[in-house]
Symmetry: C2
Subunit: 310 residues, 2 copies
């Protein structure tokens, strides 16, 4: 498919669906109506062989996951999305129908979140890759850097489920009631935009959990110049029995999965009170630096972090 | 280099340099001050083995070219850039110093254009690739679709030089006074932002020439529902003697290079009068459809177009 044919198809599938989109796909750039709030601008990538392989997820799923991962950064800032752009590379072994499948997955995620995809770029490349840029706005964007000692730590959404699901897929485990919710968490994550919109004015700092709770908490602690104390039992309680059951099915430690597993895209916020109904208390903000995990007041060892380029 | 180390370095190199940047690299997303004008939003990709190879340009040059190509789309809309994001894939054979070189090339282009790079993403991948998102604003964005019969066609910047330069590089030709300007045109293109800012209110339609004058004129003609007539001698006159000399050195037809060669990032505009001092008249807008080329009133055959995924 030529880039122009693909853009025409993208335009038909994902064309303007917001009054803020003045000009969608088909010109040199998209045009969006201005608003009074600060703009929030981010990009994320999902690369075949690095973030996914086609024996773990089909291209529709890869497109869906990539879109959710990118929009999660807007959720963490408490931003309302305006529009997204998609830049794809298509390998020589990719058929036209594969590109349709990928585009449909992106479209499904965009529709689920109500975000218009207003443009894109298509290029050949040695593998499939999906680079998603997202633009949003927030009257008071929530940064990583405002946490204050005395705040509580709040978690919205699961952590560790996707990591267990990925291990189930990698190990070729048969579907089971214990593993299915974990596999679904890895395959169909959700950017928690509605929870994020509750953060401005309520949370002093926030981050989304893409690399693992312990590691991302470390980023927030460093940016805020505080110490974060995670309570192991509160974390496991916030995630719920699906994590315990899934981890048990694979002989894994649920706490290690909860602290080290990425790609669930939960939100971690610092606030005096729960910023919204989905947020569960999982710890406290103290003076100092770094992250520690306690169980009944006793320190628990942290798992090693995860960095895509480590 | 970890993604966090790279982002820290990117932040140090390319950090906020505009009063519109409220928050640069280092959080979940960048934050930009709002303005009263419509937003212009675009993405472009440059992939090793597709858009460049490292025997033709070093990684600094690849970064420079990729940034200019992306910002050229804002120029074509008559937009003023606000900020850009960079999403890179780094192959296993890429050294940390290579990443520094690439980043420095992006930084040089961003500095030349005065555009802050406010964020990015770093991932492993099978080759180098550079996906650049650009956000700008324009009170009256110039589209491809407003051209009117009776307008003249205006060209700012060269066409064909970069195509001759690329052929010189691919053929391993020795440097010469005839080929050097063409090689420089391919290696160091310039996004014509200042010329683009003259378009709103003056031009009825515009496009940047990335795929070749004939093909991009075809996009504009289709979007506007008009016929564009390019005058071969006016085109060659607008580009000047460097194209004729470079093409002669390789035994190429300068008109074929001017009509079919991409990646110079000239601007083609439709307007009653020259939109600015860099614009040269190269033809006319008529009722009808398609593009034709004439020399002294006689039709000239068009070269085949160029599509990155054709």
């Amino acid at each position: 498919m030529s880039e122009h044919a693909w853009l025409a198809r993208l335009g038909a599938t994902l064309g303007p669906s917001s009054p803020r989109v003045l000009l969608g796909i088909g010109d040199d750039a998209a045009v969006l109506a201005p608003g009074p709030s600060p703009l929030v601008f981010t990009v994320d990538a999902s690369v075949e062989g690095v973030h996914f392989t086609l024996d773990l997820v089909d291209l529709g799923g890869a497109g869906y996951r990539a879109f959710m991962a990118a929009l999660s950064d807007l959720a963490a800032m408490g931003a309302r999305p305006l529009a997204a752009l998609s830049s794809l590379t298509v390998p020589g072994y990719g058929a036209e129908s594969d590109l349709d499948t990928l585009t449909a997955g992106q479209a499904a995620a965009a529709a689920a979140l109500g975000v218009p995809i207003v443009g894109g770029n298509l290029s050949r490349g040695p593998c499939w890759s999906i680079h998603t840029s997202a633009l949003g706005e927030a009257a008071e964007p929530v940064r990583r850097s405002g946490a204050r000692p005395g705040d509580s730590l709040w978690l919205a959404g699961p952590v560790g489920l996707a990591a267990v699901g990925l291990r189930a897929l990698l190990g070729g485990h048969a579907p089971s009631s214990a593993l299915d919710p974990c596999i679904a968490a890895w395959r169909r994550p959700v950017a928690r935009l509605a929870d994020g919109l509750l953060l401005p004015g309520r949370a002093s700092a926030a981050i989304d959990i893409s690399d693992g709770l312990a590691q991302d908490a470390g980023h927030l602690a460093r940016a805020s110049g505080v110490s974060l104390v995670l309570d192991a039992d509160l974390v496991l309680g916030a995630v719920g029995p699906e994590l315990t059951a899934g981890a048990a099915a694979l002989g894994l430690d649920p706490l290690a999965m909860a602290l080290g597993g990425g790609e669930d895209y939960a939100l971690l916020a610092c606030a005096a009170q729960a910023p919204g109904p989905a947020f569960r208390r999982v710890g406290a903000v103290e003076a100092g630096q770094g992250v520690r995990v306690e169980r009944a007041g006793v320190a628990v060892a942290l798992p090693a972090g995860f960095d895509h380029l480590a």
